[in-house]
């Protein structure tokens, strides 16, 4: 009976279970951190031993790669100069720089029908919450923070079935919605009829709906075996080690992620539509 009651409480007050979960995460995060350290050390250790035998080949490969990257660096610098000149002509208003905190992924706490990771973060100042922050690994968007405690944050990955992210496709920025499926590659929905996304087009976040800042790299369009467009995420979602959590300034009304009130906010998607509306009435 009591557990049935718990189901009801969880339904009636989403915040209650969120608080419980955040508390538990805070409790577990240092524990996981203590354990995952040696685990990663072991991983690197085996790597180092393996590399000893292939040092010279690797050196040659790295030199080649370095030369190639230096060329790219020149290209990038030229483009940056050009970009700056163009921005100066357009009297471009730069985007506010987000504050970020870096955290180690300490646990893979996805459920059977959820994809999320637990990140241990340095303690945040009072009054500031990481909820709604965009999580990126070295290459692209990995997800969004849905719950945050004092020293831990739970990141809902873009592959989660509740994840809905407005994206812009290709150079012209055609709007679409990227929806997680719990599988490895999120699906693309609601692209402009008659203009199917092109294979290999870059997928960037879009500021539509105000949940995400525009222009963050997400992935690349690909057509799967059923000829449905999916996104191959840039972020290495299967082996996340370190995530950066970008909190965008709260003074921008369109970028303020308010959990439980916006349909895009994935925390709200966690509740069923009906429960969500009840919640808002309180």
């Amino acid at each position: 009976m009591a557990s049935l009651g718990a189901v009801l409480i969880g339904r009636a007050d989403q915040n209650f279970s969120d608080h419980l979960r955040a508390g538990l995460d805070d409790l577990l995060a240092p524990l996981y951190q203590a354990v995952s350290g040696p685990l990663q050390a072991a991983e690197h250790g085996t790597g180092a031993i393996g590399h000893l035998f292939a040092l010279s080949q690797e050196n040659a490969q790295l030199r080649e790669q370095n030369a190639e990257l230096l060329q790219w660096q020149e290209v990038a610098m030229a483009l940056q100069a050009q970009n700056n000149a163009l921005k100066a002509q357009l009297s471009y208003v730069p985007q506010p720089t987000p504050t970020f905190s870096t955290g180690e992924v300490v646990a893979d706490l996805g459920g059977v029908y959820a994809r999320s990771v637990l990140v241990a973060v340095p303690p945040v100042a009072d009054g500031q919450s990481l909820v709604g922050a965009v999580a990126m690994d070295g290459r692209g968007v990995a997800g969004r923070v849905v719950e945050a405690g004092g020293r831990s944050a739970r990141v809902l990955l873009i592959t989660d079935i509740n994840s809905r992210i407005p994206v812009a496709l290709g150079a012209e920025g055609a709007p679409a919605l990227m929806a997680g499926t719990n599988g490895p590659d999120p699906a693309l929905l609601y692209w402009a009829p008659g203009h199917p996304p092109a294979e290999g087009a870059m997928v960037l976040t879009s500021s539509q709906g105000g949940a995400f800042p525009p222009g963050l790299p997400v992935g690349v369009v690909h057509y799967d075996a059923q000829n449905n467009p999916v996104v191959l995420p840039l972020a290495n979602l299967d082996a996340l080690r370190v995530l950066r959590l970008f909190s965008y300034p709260q003074n921008l009304p369109e970028l303020t992620p308010i959990p439980h009130t916006k349909p895009e906010a994935k925390t709200a998607a966690k509740t069923a539509a009906a429960a969500g509306t009840h919640h808002r009435k309180r």
Partner: protein
């Protein structure tokens, strides 16, 4: 159950501690396993393993040593499972309790049965549990969830139980045996 000489031994502090430790061992193992399965090992469908592990523990202990996992403790473990795994609060608490009830009801038939029978019964229970979780979660979120995790859980249940049962039978006869304290 308890033999004569054991009763006559004085209940010293150490023996009490021993009894308490043996009594708490299965529960501790269940909780520790749930926490350990959250580590980022990078196994595919690792999350589906957690409810299967919980179900296997509850199944085994309710079958062979019902006193080891009291009902409130099982409910708490269910809540822990829900909190860890982002499922709506309380679903697994209800499901684990249902599993315990079902196993205790079927205990007289299952406990003396051969290993293959109890293995098959567990696969059935696990599939039923995973299916109920799928249905309940789909209903609570008002959407059709993918069915393949249920299949995965059935496969995990079939694969995990023999290995886990081997370990648990050993524990049942030594570390968790309160009567040997």
């Amino acid at each position: 159950m308890v033999q004569g000489p054991a009763l006559r031994r004085p209940l010293t502090l150490w023996r009490r501690l021993d009894i308490a430790a043996r009594w708490a061992f299965p529960g501790f193992m269940l909780v520790a396993g749930l926490v350990v399965l959250g580590m980022p090992f990078g196994l595919p469908s690792q999350a589906a393993l957690r409810p299967v592990y919980a179900m296997a523990c509850v199944y085994f202990w309710s079958l062979y040593r019902p006193a080891a996992l009291p009902v409130p403790f099982v409910a708490l473990c269910g809540l822990l499972l829900d909190l860890l795994g982002l499922s709506p609060l309380g679903i697994w608490a209800v499901l684990l309790l249902l599993l315990q009830l079902a196993v205790i009801a079927a205990r007289r038939r299952l406990a003396p049965a051969r290993f293959l029978t109890s293995w098959g019964a567990f696969i059935g229970f696990a599939l039923a549990g995973a299916g109920l979780a799928w249905a309940a979660q789909g209903l609570l979120q008002l959407r059709l969830l993918p069915l393949w995790p249920v299949l995965w859980q059935g496969l995990f249940a079939a694969g995990l139980y023999p290995a886990l049962a081997r370990l648990l039978i050993r524990v049942h006869r030594s570390a968790a045996a309160v009567e040997l304290a």
